[in-house]
């Protein structure tokens, strides 16, 4: 049998560094590709998230019976509660699919920096979350007769989703190792994402009610800081979290 060549052969330090960066990026790309192809075939994760999210906004619609004024006030809260619950479902399922067939071990056995696994899963989870949000927003607009096509609101949703998924991916990889993973993830996740939910709801509310950008900016800044800090923390601790 022909000996398989791998990209790890010895070379000068700079080449080695460039190569390891390229390997890091390629590994992230491979994980995203794998998740997207598998999901396109099974539609297991997206369909569950989507059906759940649509049911939540439908239930809120019938339960609250909002008038035009209160609708604008309640919309950010309803939207973010929907995204948070549906997102938890997706995060749980995304890691459970890795764990159930031993695939997580398969990933951890690969000679790549384990943070590449984290970033690969993070981006895949973010794509799933954004797809669900992109479908929920127009449905919500029709059901609640509210115009949600506001560039400010879209950017808040993007920033909020990044922070949510950054923390959620880390915690789901921790929760998936336990027998009570389905209940453990929301218990761990929701207290930590309270700052992001508050900032996202306030900023969304500001954009929907046409408040001056200077009043909204502190919340946007909070979202950005939260995203950066938690992505960095997750990058640093992921190796320890996935190891027994």
């Amino acid at each position: 049998m022909v000996k398989a060549a791998t990209s790890s052969s010895s070379s000068p330090a700079r080449d080695s560094s460039n190569r390891s960066n390229a390997t890091f990026v390629k590994s992230i790309g491979a994980i995203i590709w794998k998740d997207l192809v598998a999901e396109l075939r099974s539609r297991e994760l997206l369909s569950a998230m989507l059906v759940f999210a649509l049911l939540v906004i439908l239930i809120f619609n019938f339960a609250l019976e909002l008038d035009a004024t209160t609708r604008k006030v309640a919309t950010p809260g309803i939207l973010w509660a929907t995204f948070a619950f549906a997102g938890t479902l997706g995060l749980n399922r995304s890691m459970a699919l890795e764990k159930d067939r031993g695939c997580l071990d398969g990933l951890l056995l690969a000679p790549v920096d384990r943070s590449a696994i984290y970033f690969g899963k993070l981006i895949s989870n973010l794509v799933f979350m954004l797809v669900v949000e992109a479908i929920v927003l127009p449905v919500y607009s029709v059901l609640y007769n509210t115009n949600l096509f506001n560039p400010g609101l879209i950017s808040v949703i993007l920033l909020g989703s990044v922070g949510y998924v950054a923390v959620g991916t880390l915690l789901s990889s921790m929760a998936v190792q336990t027998r009570t993973r389905d209940v453990l993830l929301p218990i761990l996740l929701f207290p930590i994402i309270i700052p992001i939910l508050i900032a996202a709801v306030k900023a969304s509310s500001g954009f929907l009610q046409g408040i001056a950008p200077t009043e909204i900016m502190p919340y946007i800044n909070l979202l950005i800081v939260y995203d950066v800090i938690f992505t960095a923390v997750a990058y640093m601790v992921f190796d320890f979290v996935v190891e027994e």
Partner: protein, 232 residues
């Protein structure tokens, strides 16, 4: 190729491995035998860098663990009783995915060779979830040897396979071991491992209690050797 000295592994108060010593030379095929709960799987997880040892020295393919885990992983292939494959990807896509993670060059050519070896070339475009358990296990071996590792670890690879699938797996294991690789395999099937391995070690209560080469044993005497190792 594998050196383990005074290895201890604790999970809380429970001690699974109690100062275990173990050594495997290049090209050896060692069957690690032992009852359920003796620590076989934990030991293989330590060798494969999935679990950290509590104390002791562990070195695989010349690299110490956990210090140089990435180098160990590059030289290691692992097959467990779970396939470690994605059911919603085809056989070829699975190998391509893992090939990218391992940085395999000329990946298409390597995938062809691997699928040919494990007898799945004609099924390369089929989803893995449609495969039988035996086919999945053959593909799992393909995944493990794709990057041509020096060391292979098999954790009860016969689990859940029928007689024909076990026979086919054995032929594949012999072919893979014949290529000069170092293999450690855990198993409960004494009859099967007697024809496969070149050495038999018995792990009981966290230490190796007996070791014998194939040439040291009379044919079909492995069950008796195993019984004595556990009771003695």
């Amino acid at each position: 190729m594998i050196v383990v000295k005074k290895l201890v592994k604790r999970f809380g108060l429970k001690i699974v491995l109690r100062g275990m010593n173990f050594e495997v030379q290049r090209g050896e095929f060692v069957a690690l035998l032992g009852p359920n709960g003796s620590g076989k799987t934990t030991f293989l997880r330590i060798l494969s860098s999935l679990t950290r040892p509590t104390s002791g020295i562990v070195s695989v393919a010349g690299y110490p663990l956990p210090g140089q885990a990435s180098s160990v992983r590059r030289n290691l292939g692992v097959v467990s009783h779970l396939p470690l494959l994605y059911g919603d990807l085809t056989a070829e896509e699975n190998l391509r995915f893992f090939g990218k993670l391992y940085g395999v060059f000329e990946i298409s050519q390597r995938i062809d060779q691997t699928l040919e070896l494990v007898g799945l070339r004609s099924r390369r475009r089929e989803l893995v979830r449609t495969f039988s358990r035996g086919m999945q296990q053959r593909l799992a071996i393909g995944r493990a040897i794709l990057h041509d590792p020096d060391v292979l670890l098999f954790d009860e690879p016969h689990t859940g396979l029928d007689q024909d699938a076990c026979d086919m797996l054995d032929r594949l294991l012999l072919e893979v071991s014949g290529q000069g690789r170092t293999i450690v395999m855990t198993s409960h099937d004494l009859i099967r491992v007697e024809d496969l391995a070149s050495r038999f070690d018995v792990l009981s209560r966290g230490v190796i209690t007996a070791s014998a080469g194939r040439n040291d044993l009379v044919r079909n005497s492995l069950p008796e050797f195993y019984r004595q190792a556990l009771t003695g």
